[in-house]
């Protein structure tokens, strides 16, 4: 009895605390899940606090996406369990179409003023990219991290190049000069570049896909439920990478578990995004110089150099009881002012047009010259094609990529023919 008397107050206290936090949740009209990295949490907290101060009757509650193996899995589990938030930022563009087809996303173009807002924020190519085959738009372009060529400026100078290699021939020449057997054991241990050899589908976002977009001036991989990647650009990219591996300019070994091979001078280049800047700044050795350049292109290439933008977008789930309010909040969250704050806090690019020339952001780019390179590239980025079987498409390309590019078991033409057949079969199912 005595112990019950001791426990009872604790129990009542716990009940009160849990009920009070629950009532806070109920106060909020909209629940917003942000990404769970520190900078994006800071940004989400900033905009939500400001909104709630100005709109005490229309409160937003934000929380980072719950921890899981990946945010994609958490969102999937939430969709299945019907526990989705009202708003989710950080949705990978490639996932949107399957959710749209499952009927769990709000068609944003049906919301008042959405199309005007979108035309003001994005150019027509981006709007076309995010439009689903059913003609609706289920996502707001939010942020991009374009994939570019990161290079060691000292290493490039050391091999007698005034600037980083732009074409495949330049790349071969530079690779030949940089390649070295340091310890004289007959094996190369300094390579010009590195790309993950794993066959996992999304690894191709960092080698084949941006190179394909660069070579093809931003052409799609699939269109109208058909594979369209089996073209000259595709063949040239496979051939380029195949030569890189065949001549041992890229290692076939996985170097990702080692100390940073770029900062160690083991490789001179890497295909990567702006997230590399903060890491490199933090860990670079003394007098280490680096910069970014557009992806290499075939020798006869003309036109702008496109790349993969790794876009992450914002969606409103159908579980939202008040989509107009969610939309009102998002219009505020994606204002020019808040995009500047987003840049400053996260060092990621908002997906809006004329980013590099907009005077609003000039101050930021003057202070962060390396980000300026990405802002200039932002005019020529592509996301992913709108297809519910996109992962399988990338997986099938990746299988053929491995056979042709890494192990030389097929010619580029054979590999792309086989990939095309397999992808078209996928659409027939």
């Amino acid at each position: 009895m005595k112990s019950i008397k001791k426990i009872l107050p604790l129990f009542v206290f716990a009940l009160v605390v849990s009920c009070s936090s629950d009532s806070q949740t109920r106060d909020a009209k909209i629940i917003y899940w942000s990404s769970n990295n520190t900078e994006e949490i800071e940004f989400a907290r900033y905009i939500v606090e400001k909104w709630n101060q100005k709109n005490p009757e229309e409160k937003i509650m934000f929380q980072p996406v719950p921890e899981g193996q990946s945010s994609e899995e958490v969102i999937l589990a939430a969709v299945v369990g019907k526990t989705t938030p009202d708003i989710y930022s950080n949705m990978w563009e490639g996932d949107v179409e399957s959710y749209a087809r499952a009927g769990v996303l709000v068609a944003l173009d049906t919301l008042d003023g959405f199309m005007d807002f979108l035309h003001e924020r994005c150019d027509s190519a981006v709007i076309a990219d995010v439009t689903s085959p059913d003609g609706h738009i289920y996502q707001i372009p939010w942020k991009i991290n374009p994939i570019m060529l990161l290079y060691n400026s000292n290493a490039i100078k050391e091999i007698g190049f005034a600037e980083p290699p732009k074409t495949y021939s330049d790349f071969f020449n530079a690779s030949k000069k940089f390649q070295r057997d340091n310890d004289g054991d007959g094996y190369v241990d300094r390579w010009f570049g590195y790309a993950e050899v794993l066959v996992t589908w999304w690894q191709r976002f960092f080698d084949f896909y941006p190179l394909y977009l660069a070579a093809s001036n931003g052409a799609p991989l699939v269109k109208n439920n058909k594979a369209v990647f089996n073209n000259e650009a595709g063949v040239k990219v496979f051939e380029f990478l195949r030569v890189m591996y065949k001549r041992n300019y890229f290692p076939k070994e996985r170097l990702s578990a080692r100390q940073d091979v770029f900062l160690d001078g083991v490789i001179a280049t890497r295909f990567t995004g702006p997230w590399e800047i903060s890491h490199t700044e933090k860990f670079k050795p003394a007098r280490f110089k680096y910069d970014f350049h557009p992806m290499p292109v075939p020798d006869n290439h003309s036109g702008n150099v496109y790349t993969y933008g790794d876009p992450k977008n914002i969606v409103i789930f159908k579980t939202c009881l008040d989509p107009p309010l969610a939309w009102k909040f998002l219009k505020y969250a994606l204002s020019e002012e808040n995009d500047l704050k987003f840049l400053e806090i996260t060092n990621q690019l908002p997906h809006r047009k004329n980013l590099d020339t907009n005077p609003k952001y000039a101050g930021y780019f003057a202070k962060n010259s390396k980000m300026k390179v990405f802002a200039e590239q932002a005019k020529y980025v592509k996301g992913t094609d709108q297809s519910p079987v996109l992962k399988e498409v990338f997986d099938l390309i990746s299988q053929e990529y491995e056979a042709c590019v890494i192990y030389g078991k097929k010619t580029p033409r054979e590999a792309l023919n086989d990939a095309e057949k397999a992808v078209n079969l996928l659409f027939l199912k």
């Binding site: 499952a102 054991d185 066959v199 290692p251 076939k252 070994e253 080692r258 491995e402 890494i406 192990y407």
Partner: protein, 284 residues
């Protein structure tokens, strides 16, 4: 009446557990095999199409063959090494307790950690194994990058990781052998090898069977090692059946097809274990 109910009440926790965590998932999986389901959209009845797809799926066949290759290398290797170590650790040697614990240590270390460590050993350019090979005048081997070497390399690593468990099982088995059998054999002039083959092996036969069954089931569930080390490559040479099922289910959300693969694979494991049982029982 009350007396009659009590036994049911006592077994009810297990019955509830069994229904919720075993019977329902198994039943649901079987039901799934006749449907297409991507988790987020409603299920669509698919008839036998998932089964048809399974029998025409060349990559799944390759995954099963890869798993069998792994088992063929891993099981005998594991049994021989475990038995050898158990025999040594059954002798009165110094620091016996320490060695017994040391051999068991990899079993309790996370599979992902072990895999990352071995990735360093197997590295082509900087890996310890290749450094030793070059030092003694041999060519480097692409332990994880050569399709012919990748699966054997994974099998060796898995053996190293799990052997401690089987050493313990064999130690238990060895301690059930009555010492007077050895004394009698020694009086007759039996050699160490004769004692091992004529006395030890027949007596620990049930332990050997248990080890074979456990390592077969463990081997069939090969997943972490290829998932972390090779992603199934090079050229699909390390795609295991479980890795393939996982990819179908959780990468591509082909839940119906993944359930079909899982169901078929469970039947395959059951058949292999039954065959093993027959062989070992025959040997008795």
């Amino acid at each position: 009446m009350r007396k009659k109910l009590i036994p049911y009440l006592l077994v009810s926790p297990y019955i509830i557990y069994f229904l919720v965590f075993v019977a329902f998932p198994v039943g649901f999986s079987v039901y799934l095999t006749f449907n297409n389901w991507n988790i987020i959209s409603p299920m669509e009845f698919a008839g036998l199409s998932n089964y048809k797809r399974l029998f025409n799926d060349a990559l799944f066949r390759k995954a099963v063959v890869n798993t069998l290759i792994f088992l063929v290398i891993h099981i005998p290797f594991q049994i021989v090494i475990a038995l050898f170590l158990a025999e040594l650790l059954n002798q009165k040697i110094k620091f016996r307790g320490f060695f017994r614990a040391a051999f068991f240590l990899p079993v309790i270390v996370s599979g992902v950690v072990v895999t990352i460590l071995w990735q360093q050993l197997y590295g082509f350019d900087t890996g310890l194994l290749n450094r030793v090979l070059v030092k003694i005048g041999f060519a480097k081997i692409g332990w994880l990058t050569d399709p012919n070497w990748a699966m054997p390399s994974i099998a060796v690593m898995a053996t190293w990781k799990n052997v401690g468990l089987y050493v313990i099982l064999f130690l238990v088995g060895l301690q059930t052998v009555p010492p007077q059998y050895y004394e009698a054999a020694e009086l007759e002039g039996a050699t160490h090898l004769q004692k091992f083959f004529r006395i030890t092996l027949p007596i620990i036969n049930p332990t050997i069977f248990m080890v074979i069954v456990l390592s077969t089931i463990g081997g069939f569930s090969l997943f972490i090692e290829p998932y972390v080390m090779t992603g199934g490559g090079p050229l699909n040479s390390t795609v295991s059946a479980v890795l393939y099922i996982y990819k179908q289910g959780f990468f591509y959300h082909h839940m119906g097809y993944a359930a079909t693969l899982g169901f078929f694979f469970a039947l395959l494991i059951l058949s292999v274990v039954m065959i093993q049982k027959k062989f070992v029982e025959k040997d008795k």
